[in-house]
């Protein structure tokens, strides 16, 4: 499908209310969105709860209806409450979709499982000195990473019986660590921070070290890096920052065969001039569309500019949705599955479900 500005529109499918404070982030259950399982996602809020939302199975649930965008509504299936004593900041589903890890300002991380329709807290991880900001499962679901305001990154290993063993406590960032994210295929961990850098962590037989720091000398950001996201194949990464830019990085393929097996990352290009307020969230879809959520209440979409005249890849704006929310947008996330759905979370206390639809007729997805 060709992407060019004006080729698409962003349709608001539904506005989900329920949280009584700002919604900080959301995460789609990766095991949902198939023919048999309706899409599910979790949202986290300043109201100290996590809400689980599920799409109602569509009435004509026979084979994929590619031409009609029949959509069915979303409902709040569960509220995970009475566990955290402060804001719930972020959450992440395990790759199997069976567990949900939840990070809270109360310095703990809780693990939940769906036990016969009810969500139960099966474990609580303590260790951070203060607010936990982000949590991420690795590709195989064997490792969990957390990070927080205490500037540290923790790596936990999942043991049988919902036991979690701390593998390592990593210091290195000099300020609040905003987000951690595992590479989509390799057991390499990425973290980004208020100290303007992105750090890459890899292990040598359980001994975890920072193997690379992407900072200003590497063409890195000049202010807080809020989030990062990988493309589908994992050879490129996009970061977003308070410095009003998005930066694209690529894995240096030539050093893949190096002795320690670790490939380094280098700056590819900077997307600048499109944002005039802090960019809090960025997510790269499986089709290559980069979505960003910013403090100016707008959602923007970028794609690679194949007609670019500069040497090296460049990116162009596909669509800008102003006033997508009434306040700052904290998180944007593409859904799994075939449909081009995006969920956004905002300080205005709502979650909105959008569909990026093609305006060209006869060109369905």
């Amino acid at each position: 499908m060709e992407f060019y500005e004006g080729a698409c529109e962003l349709k608001l499918l539904q506005t989900l209310e329920g949280h009584t404070d700002r919604v900080w982030s959301l995460a789609w259950n990766p095991a949902t969105g198939t023919a048999d399982t309706p899409l599910v996602f979790a949202s986290c809020s300043g109201d100290k709860t996590v809400r689980i939302w599920e799409q109602n199975p569509s009435p004509s649930s026979s084979s994929s209806s590619s031409s009609s965008s029949s959509y069915s509504s979303w409902n709040c299936k569960a509220v995970l409450e009475d566990t955290h004593t402060r804001t719930v900041r972020s959450c992440c589903w395990s790759p199997s979709g069976k567990s949900l890890a939840v990070a809270s300002f109360d310095a703990t991380t809780s693990i939940w499982e769906n036990v016969g329709g009810d969500f139960e807290c099966v474990s609580t991880l303590e260790g951070h000195e203060n607010e936990v900001k982000s949590v991420s499962w690795n590709a195989s679901g064997s490792l969990l990473a957390t990070c927080g305001r205490d500037k540290s990154v923790w790596i936990w290993e999942v043991q049988p019986g919902n036991e979690y063993e701390c593998v390592s406590v990593l210091q290195g960032h000099t300020q609040d660590v905003k987000m951690v994210m595992w590479h989509p295929t390799l057991d390499v961990l990425f973290s980004c921070s208020y100290d303007n850098t992105v750090k890459v962590w890899a292990d040598d037989d359980d001994d975890w070290q920072c193997v690379q720091t992407l900072g200003e000398p590497n063409n890195g950001h000049s202010s807080t890096v809020w989030a990062l996201s990988f493309n589908k194949t994992g050879d490129k990464m996009v970061t977003c920052s308070d410095d009003l830019t998005l930066k694209i990085w690529e894995m240096d393929g030539t050093s893949m065969q190096s002795a320690d097996g670790y490939a380094s990352w280098r700056h590819l290009c900077t997307i600048t001039g499109y944002h005039d307020r802090t960019i809090f969230s960025v997510h790269w879809s499986s089709e290559g569309i980069i979505a960003s959520g910013a403090a100016d209440d707008a959602i923007r979409f970028f794609v690679e500019d194949k007609d670019g005249l500069v040497d090296g890849p460049s990116y162009k704006l596909l669509l800008k949705e102003e006033k997508a929310h009434g306040m700052d947008i904290n998180s944007v996330q593409w859904s799994p599955g075939e449909k081009r759905l995006l969920a956004s979370a905002s300080d205005d206390g709502t979650v909105k479900i959008w569909e990026l639809a093609s305006l060209c007729t006869g060109n369905g997805y």
């Binding site: 991880l125 303590e126 260790g127 923790w154 063993e165 701390c166 593998v167 390592s168 406590v169 210091q171």
Partner: protein, 141 residues
């Protein structure tokens, strides 16, 4: 003529004489005070470091006893971390406070300690002395 010069010399040099006197008095006073403060700071810092290392040594000893009684009680990873802590405590250059590695060793110990506690799910915490108290005179040993 020389006598007149001598007479005026002492009054011209008055400032310099007084300065020298004041300087040597101050210097001597500072020397004494420095020695006293140095001793107090040394005792204070030495005590703090000793107490923290002693705390970790105590924990390690108890954990090692557990491992001896029941080697399966702690996972391999935790045992390895406890062993690494043991090595770090032994390696800390106690008699050489100017050694560059002291901060690194102490940081490493603190991180390993937190990791072990988190895994064992125990709420141990080394409290130590409040870091905000800078004035060594507050601590009367």
């Amino acid at each position: 003529m020389e006598e007149i010069d001598d007479m005026f010399e002492s009054s011209l040099n008055l400032e310099e004489i007084h300065f020298k006197e004041g300087y040597s008095e101050g210097y001597g006073h500072g020397l004494d005070q420095g020695k006293e403060e140095g001793q107090q700071v040394g005792l204070k810092v030495g005590f703090e470091v000793g107490e923290e290392l002693g705390f970790y040594r105590g924990c390690i000893n108890v954990w090692n006893s557990v491992i001896q009684v029941d080697p399966t009680r702690f996972s391999d990873r935790v045992q390895k971390m406890i062993k690494q802590m043991d090595e770090l405590v032994a390696k800390y250059p106690v008699m050489d406070p100017e050694n560059e590695s002291i901060q690194g060793v102490m940081d490493g110990l603190r991180l390993k300690f937190r990791a072990v506690c988190a895994t064992l799910n125990v709420k141990l915490e080394y409290i130590g002395y409040p870091k905000t108290a800078q004035d060594s005179k507050e601590f009367e040993f």
